[in-house]
């Protein structure tokens, strides 16, 4: 069968300086921040490398009706691939041939304006996503019903709750009828019931014989929606095949979830001439390296580093993201013994213990950084250095109790609950009283 998408040796190179000056999405900004200190060094040093390849030598074909998942760590090139396919940005090398009308959904609610009503935004957003006026009019009622905002259709969306806003935005997108649909991680919206509805809708799109490319960190969604998956790492396609195989390879080879990462070559490791990172590890309560951790038990995250020059105030810090890319929290070193104290040269291990019953279930990505405060200097920041899974064994003694369904939130602390009986109503007694008065 002839392909509907033909990608040949596609590459995209970014000039680092250009990215630094960018006003892009939060994700881009953070990625830029991660590279900023390295870049400053490289510019001073000899190994100046002003470009990075966000995607390199990517070749693949997609046949009509296929649903293809695209997975990889943050910064692996997934979003760049979608941006190239949707013509938002231009490739540096290679070629893409598209044999069908393409619609990309890199964000829900693109072009939504808070001052406009739900009705007006449906029309505008539909037009931006490539629907004709007739098409929008025909599907209007269906969109409103899908979003469950019938009563508020003529209210400016600035008065919408964030849930309603996202539902409406997704509803418009879900009713597009392109031959090729590109979706980037937009399903992480709304409550779980609506998420399920979106997944079902996506599956329908596949059943109608449309071609879908779906980028996500949500592995169950990938395996459910897409028979085939492409795995990207550092801008290259490293695996392409049946989803179940690619996803399990991704999870097991540790590309996605490495619990320990080491940099044996000091010259290649993140850092500068003051301090260099050697390793980042995740350990369970008993000190073993572990990537599946009990939600009730403490987890410790450690970094090993070499201080090459004495006399600097260094603060190791960890950055935690959940699988949706939500910044869960940051932890700066809080060891009294080192507060305000310059570190002599040597090898160090700093570890941070995260108490049990704090994190929510799911995958946590840990970024390891070394900073000097006042003024802030970032010596290194290794984004997604390690990752681990938090698992609830559903024994009933975690914060979820006996509830078995999905629970939202980035943290799930077990709180001190206290319930007391304020006054008892004894049913048999009231029954007696009733009898007595008769």
């Amino acid at each position: 069968m002839k392909p509907i998408i033909k990608v040949d040796k596609l590459g995209k190179r970014y000039r680092l300086a250009a990215r630094q000056a960018s006003y892009g999405s939060l994700r881009d900004t953070l990625a830029g921040m991660a590279r900023a200190p390295l870049r400053a060094l490289q510019r001073n040093g000899e190994s100046a490398q002003p470009f990075i390849w966000a995607l390199r030598d990517a070749s693949f074909e997609v046949t009509p009706g296929e649903a293809v998942g695209i997975i990889g760590r943050n910064g692996a090139g997934k979003s760049t691939l979608l941006k190239l396919l949707s013509r938002i940005t231009q490739p540096t090398t290679g070629r893409i041939e598209l044999y069908g009308r393409i619609v990309s959904l890199l964000e829900v609610g693109t072009g939504f304006h808070p001052e406009l009503t739900g009705r007006e935004n449906i029309s505008l957003n539909g037009a931006i996503l490539g629907m004709s006026r007739r098409e929008i009019a025909r599907k209007f009622d269906e969109i409103v019903a899908f979003a469950e905002v019938e009563k508020f259709v003529d209210t400016p969306v600035k008065h919408f709750s964030s849930g309603m806003y996202l539902r409406l935005a997704f509803a418009v997108a879900a009713h597009l009828e392109p031959e090729i649909l590109l979706v980037d991680e937009v399903l992480a919206v709304g409550d779980s019931r609506f998420q399920r509805k979106c997944l079902d809708k996506m599956q329908d799109v596949g059943r109608q014989g449309r071609t879908v490319l779906f980028v996500s960190h949500n592995m169950p969604a990938i395996t459910r929606l897409c028979p085939r998956t492409i795995l990207l790492d550092e801008g290259r396609i490293i695996s392409d095949g049946p989803s179940s195989e690619v996803v399990s390879a991704y999870l097991s080879t540790g590309l996605g979830t490495t619990v320990a990462r080491e940099w044996p070559d000091t010259n290649q490791s993140p850092g500068n001439d003051i301090v260099r990172l050697r390793a980042v590890r995740v350990r369970s309560e008993d000190g073993q390296l572990s990537d599946a951790l009990d939600i009730r038990k403490p987890v410790s995250v450690e970094m090993e580093y070499d201080v090459l020059k004495s006399g600097h105030l260094l603060v190791p810090n960890f950055h935690f993201y959940n699988e949706d890319g939500v910044y869960a929290f940051v932890a700066h070193e809080a060891d009294e013994r080192w507060r305000g104290r310059e570190r002599p040269a040597g090898r160090y291990i700093s570890s941070a213990a995260i108490p049990g019953n704090l994190l929510a279930e799911g995958t946590l990505f840990v970024g390891a950084a070394m900073s000097t405060m006042n003024p802030v200097i970032v010596h290194f920041y290794e984004r997604d250095a390690v990752a681990f899974q938090v698992i609830d064994s559903m024994d009933g003694d975690s914060a979820r109790g006996e509830y078995g369904g999905p629970m939202p939130g980035v943290v799930r602390p077990l709180l001190q609950w206290h319930t007391r009986l304020v006054s008892e109503v004894n049913q048999s007694e009231t029954a007696h009283v009733g009898e007595g008065t008769r």
């Binding site: 002839k2 509907i4 033909k6 250009a18 960018s22 892009g24 999405s25 070749s59 693949f60 074909e61 046949t63 009509p64 009706g65 296929e66 649903a67 190239l84 396919l85 949707s86 013509r87 938002i88 940005t89 231009q90 490739p91 540096t92 090398t93 070629r95 893409i96 041939e97 044999y99 069908g100 009308r101 393409i102 990309s104 964000e107 693109t110 072009g111 304006h113 001052e115 406009l116 007006e120 029309s123 505008l124 037009a127 931006i128 490539g130 400016p156 031959e179 596949g206 059943r207 109608q208 014989g209 449309r210 071609t211 028979p227 085939r228 396609i237 490293i238 695996s239 392409d240 095949g241």
Partner: protein
């Protein structure tokens, strides 16, 4: 190669066969550099509905967020006319050729206000629509063009006052008025050219945003809005395409002879600016999403 391992699956029955017939030639070919021609008119035509929606959004949002809404379109040139009349006509004694100063000033302010607003709005339009540029594809040029077109609506509203003034001052209608649509088209093209170019430049250099009000201010003084064109400086002012347009507006309204040579120069400069802007825009457009 990973892709080869997958092409071996060709011929396997796919879960959901597509009803879609694959054309022989790709609908879109994306490759570095060459593939994007400077101005793809056919593509622009397919996006005409989006252009309409962008214009509609600009107008709707502008008037929804303001207290007196569309009255601003009237108030802006009206107040300027009153101020100019007081300072320049009464105090400074500026000559107005062949018409009472208030209507003379208003006839100049009408195209000028449109031009200034259109250039300002379209110059800032791309950086005001960053989320669209980084998240969805369509010909980017629609954004500054929509901003110019939305300003044209304000121009229409402000024209009502001109009609009122013309009735009040009994200027009557002259045969020259047939040139008015041509002049409106010319000023629209000029505003589009300048606006498109500044919009693209603004993406790369945010300085444009700050330089723009200043540029408009200077341009106002270099155009015969407040004053009539003095003969001595006519040759120099003719290099400003707005001179012929504003003077043309007055000629059309008050039945004065047109300076055809100056109009020709203005039209030529306008077309040159427009062509240059379209070319420069297409060249810069490729990197918008990367640098905005």
């Amino acid at each position: 190669m990973p892709s080869e391992s997958f092409t071996s699956r060709d011929g396997m029955s796919l879960p959901y066969p597509s009803p879609y017939q694959i054309p022989d030639e790709p609908l879109v070919t994306i490759q570095p550099g060459k593939s994007w021609v400077p101005v793809n008119l056919r593509e622009l035509w397919t996006y005409r509905e989006l252009l309409f929606f962008l214009i509609w959004r600009d107008i709707k949002v502008r008037y929804k967020q303001t207290l007196i809404g569309a009255a601003w379109a009237l108030l802006q040139p009206l107040l300027l006319m009153l101020i100019f009349t007081f300072f320049f006509s009464r105090l400074a004694g500026v000559k107005s050729a062949g018409a009472p100063y208030p209507i003379f000033a208003y006839a100049g302010l009408l195209p000028w206000t449109f031009f200034a607003n259109a250039v300002t709005n379209s110059g800032n339009s791309l950086i005001g629509n960053t989320n669209l540029i980084t998240k969805v594809y369509f010909p980017r040029v629609l954004i500054p063009v929509a901003a110019v077109a939305a300003s044209l609506v304000d121009f229409g509203i402000a024209s009502i006052l001109l009609v009122v003034l013309m009735i009040y001052y009994r200027t009557g209608l002259h045969a020259e008025v047939v040139m008015l649509p041509v002049l409106v088209a010319l000023v629209t093209l000029l505003a589009s050219g300048v606006g498109i170019w500044l919009a693209a430049l603004n993406v790369k250099y945010r300085d444009v945003r700050y330089a723009l009000p200043f540029l408009i201010q200077i341009w106002l003084f270099a155009s015969p809005v407040i004053y009539a064109v003095p003969d001595r400086w006519r040759w120099l002012l003719a290099l400003n395409p707005m001179t012929a347009i504003i003077e043309g507006f007055r000629s059309a309204l008050f039945g004065l002879p047109f300076d055809w040579l100056m109009l020709g120069v203005s039209a030529s400069i306008t077309l040159f600016i427009l062509a240059y802007a379209a070319f420069a825009f297409a060249r810069m457009e490729r990197s918008f999403a990367d640098v905005i």
